[in-house]
């Protein structure tokens, strides 16, 4: 397995290196689907230039990355390509290890359940075998490293790749059960883009399950754990924000990074839902809809947590990552790539998926149509923004359908595991379940 993983890494790095050397890199770095105003490498360079001149990098409304990133590249700017390739490799390896560990746990849990005869007799075909689970970690790494979205994002030197690395390290440490590191990486991810804040809930849920803390708000142990975790999380967040302040010598970065993410002043088209909506809206509704749109990202945490509190928290994490990457204010394809990498983990749900063919066709077509409609709109001038937004909308609807399909399939499998696979009606004939 290690050999195939290294082979995969070599292939992935070769593809990236070749693309870096080709003329395509510049073209890709300009694509709005791949870079956002926050993650664009061009803007990081601008920030570095300002920093070298002794001016605050946040003056002039160009640079919106966090201070840590700019100080990182202050030293690494000559090795930027290697850094980004390394970030992708780290993400893939972290996900590989995380999923391997997670699968072990799933299998152990399943073995206990089977031994305790907790599953109905006709559910044998739903039980997962080690052979089918063996290749899943490798597939996860492959889905991340060879996904065209990741490759594009890496070649464009979008800092999104670094965010993904931090998030995947968070997933790894969480699955390994290391509370402190999990909190630290989550804090780093939050520091980078706010939205991973919602991953707090699945992390705590997972760690509680891991340490056999009852998930019950009426128990003291539950609250004690929550306080512990939040203390570590907020503490490291405090440290890191203060560190940024001391590095930079001013609080400029707060409005320029987080204000920029939350108030969405830059309406450059991207694959998200914000730009068109806020470009079309009357100014006096702006604040209201801004709140609605931003709350939307965070809100799904509550129902998802309630519904999935007994299930594996990694599924909840996957759902959260998907929700973030769909509804965040400046999404890029790099964000999408991260949650798509988790799909092989849920390969046992494939038999319950309903729209996978339709959804994958739509996602495929949309990915091809983005550059075409952009060309027609911006260069040829014969189409307009509505064409492009229509594709954005379709792309996001397809993503939502994909995620909800997985959610449905997950719940349905859980249901079958308790109620039996072949449902009978009271009179003994076979029954159909209908979503109502």
């Amino acid at each position: 397995m290690a050999a195939s993983l290294s082979l995969l890494v070599i292939v992935a790095v070769t593809i990236r290196a070749a693309l870096f050397r080709s003329g395509l890199a510049e073209l890709i770095a300009e694509r709005v689907e791949v870079v956002s105003p926050i993650t664009a490498w061009k803007r990081v360079i601008e920030g570095l230039a300002l920093l070298d001149l002794g001016v605050s990098p946040y003056s002039g409304d160009v640079f919106h990355e966090t201070p840590l990133i700019i100080y990182l590249f202050h030293f690494l700017v000559d090795y930027a390509e290697i850094t980004f390739m390394l970030a992708d490799v780290i993400t893939a390896v972290a996900l590989y290890m995380a999923v391997k560990d997670f699968n072990k746990q799933v299998f152990r849990k399943q073995k206990f359940s089977v031994e305790a005869e907790r599953y109905p007799a006709d559910c044998l075909e739903l039980i997962r075998s080690p052979t089918e689970m063996f290749y899943i970690p490798l597939k996860v790494a492959m889905f991340y490293l060879l996904n065209p979205f990741t490759i594009l994002s890496c070649v464009a030197k979008s800092t999104c790749g670094l965010n993904n690395a931090v998030i995947s390290l968070f997933v790894l440490t969480t699955i390994k059960g290391n509370v402190l590191l999990s909190a630290i990486f989550l804090c780093l991810a939050t520091y980078q883009s706010i939205y991973p804040l919602t991953l707090c809930a699945p992390a705590m849920l997972y760690l509680m399950q891991h340490q056999y803390v009852p998930v019950n708000p009426r128990r003291v142990a539950f609250w004690w754990f929550v306080v512990q975790y939040l203390f570590m999380y907020l503490g490291s967040l405090f440290v890191i924000v203060c560190l940024s302040f001391f590095l930079l010598g001013s609080w400029d970065f707060l409005p320029s990074v987080y204000g920029f993410i939350l108030s969405v002043p830059d309406l450059t088209p991207n694959i998200g839902l914000f730009w068109y909506f806020f470009a079309e809206m009357f100014e006096h509704f702006r604040l209201f809809f801004l709140c609605v749109f931003q709350i939307n990202v965070f809100f799904y945490t509550v129902p998802l947590c309630i519904k999935l509190k007994s299930g594996p928290a990694v599924f909840l994490m996957f759902m959260q990552l998907a929700v973030i990457s769909i509804f965040k204010s400046y999404p890029t394809v790099g964000d999408t790539a991260l949650y798509l990498a988790f799909l092989p983990v849920w390969s046992h749900l494939h038999r319950f998926l309903r729209n996978i063919f339709l959804v994958s066709c739509v996602l495929l077509a949309c990915s091809a149509l983005f550059p075409v409609l952009w060309h027609l709109w911006i260069y040829a001038g014969s189409a307009n923004s509505n064409f492009y937004y229509a594709i954005t909308l379709l792309f996001n609807v397809a993503q939502i359908l994909l995620v909800s399909d997985y959610f449905y399939a997950f719940l349905r499998r859980e249901h079958h595991l308790t109620a039996g696979l072949y449902l009978k009606k009271k009179d003994g004939s076979e029954a159909t379940l209908v979503l109502k």
């Binding site: 089918e132 038999r351 319950f352 063919f357 495929l364 091809a368 075409v372 072949y422 209908v434 979503l435």
Partner: protein, 650 residues
Amino acid sequence: MVISQTQKRTKPGDSGSFDNAATPAMNVSGPGVGNKMGLLSDPNRRRALISLLTRLNAPICALCYFAGVCWFMGLAFEPFTLRTYMSENAMGSTMVEERFPSGERALATGKEFAAHKKKVGGMPVDWLVKTMQARGLEVFTQSFSRTLPFPDENKERYIVKGTNVYGILRAPRAPRTEALVLSAPCSPGENNNQAVGLLLGLAHYFRSQVFWAKDIIFLVNEHDLIGMQAWLEGYHHTNTTGMDWSPLQGRGGSIQAALSLELSSDVITSLDIILEGLNGQLPNLDLANLFYAFCQKIGVLCTIQGRLQRNDWDSVSGYSHAVQTMMLMVMKQASGRPWGDHGLFLRYHIEAATIKGINSFRQYKTDVTTVGRLLEGMFRKLNNLLERLHQSYFFYLMPSLSHFVSIGYYMPAFGLLAVILLLRALGLWVQLASPPVRAADGVGDIVQSSPGVLSVLTPLVISHLTGAALYILPTRFQEIAVEHFPVSETEAVVLTAIAIYTAGLALPHNTHRLLSGEGTEQGWRVLKLVAVLYLAVLLGCTALINFSLGFILALTLVPVAAFVTPHVPKTLSAIVLVILSPAFTLLFSVFFFQELEEMPVSFQDGWLLYLSVISQGILDHYLYGSLVYPLIALMIFPCWLLFWNILFWK
């Protein structure tokens, strides 16, 4: 849980299949939502639809194809088209008083120009500069040079050196932020002298007018499109094709519209407007409307595709006339090449058209003064523009100058063809998702599908490598080919391309067996699913950018994609497949185009024409950045090879 009353015998959830019988009720949606969600959630209706689509797949596909072709042919029928109308208010009425008086003088200037051209043996730069300066323009020149990737045998040029001369009439009434262009090519021989004469005459006349709010640039470009490309690149500070040109010394504002003039006789019988530009891009329809409106006003016969419009749309001959006009436009647009000097403006978001004077044997003649008045009127109207032309359509086909078909009307024709691909893909998916009974448990599936990936990937990669060879090798290997074979460079390029194309047919089939052993029944289905979806996306994108190209390719490739399996009779299918391949499509198009132009050719001439069309296509790509050649070589041809591969699947 709500257990419905219907009885089902299906096993719950075969991997990924559409027709899942059981669906648990979840707290996700409230009561009643399920009913509204209809197709997506109701398993019974869903399965009924799927089974209908799979059972009737072939008849529905045939019906769709037939309907698509009929729809397309119906587009030229006048009651189904829209009348053109001026959308731009700033150009709304033709209430301009045209007073251009000096047609005779323009002709005299044209003769003088011809004499100087003959004397210098090319572009009389000094004379042009002097004449333009005498007419009160700010005059500048731009020199350019370009070595073609291989000699252009049609125009007999290889190393091109030339000079563009342009004069700017500064707008007296506005801050000079916008400009209009009138251009005339300086062609070799006796062509277009009158156009240059008229251009200079108009410059002289416009100079004395006070109402110009936009700079007017009078451009005489040498070596037609190459000169135009150099000038436009210089004007916009871009260099997309690696041409050498000297930077422009003077420029006006941003160019709003451009007209290119071609006039080779003292009197004309009609004016023809040419709209098709690079990559099938068209100018805003209002530009054509403007031309039509002024032709009506001044009383000049006007044509599109060199064809007058007829009023007897309800007769068979009238309808076929309209169809032929539209087909000419479709063929020209599909070729992706600029059909006049205006074609390169469109890339820079500048609305442009070429106006060409035609002198036929018709009795009624129009003199140059009238043409000058027409141009004056058009420029006066364009001068009134407050913003770029954007009100009217950019996507249209014209069965006659007074009628057009907009994107909403012609896209369904393509859509009906594309639906066939989706239906086929759906059918394959259902077949793949419900495998034979033995592979019921998950273990069997995994073992079976792992060679599947490899057997799909190998043909994909090899086909694309063949495509890449077709794109790269012809121009790279011309020296070697010329050394070893008795051919010229141009022939070498074209024949290499044809050779690689033919070699591609021999190469990729059965290559998957090298890596993955015997191909399985599942294997070709997966490959076909991939190929069909690939083709659908490819054609969809092509049709959005260049409808005509997308439609013609769909017309030939969709039947291939629909019927190919390894189980159809090999020889017959192979012949059909080859006949429907992109190269043969091009060959038929050449003959068909000649037929439409009413210049039918013999097979021998047609073949020579075919070779020259290929070389022109390759040249268009290298000189102006036309995308048709790379599209065919890198995408369409490999995609077709995949179907070829499926036919010979073992």
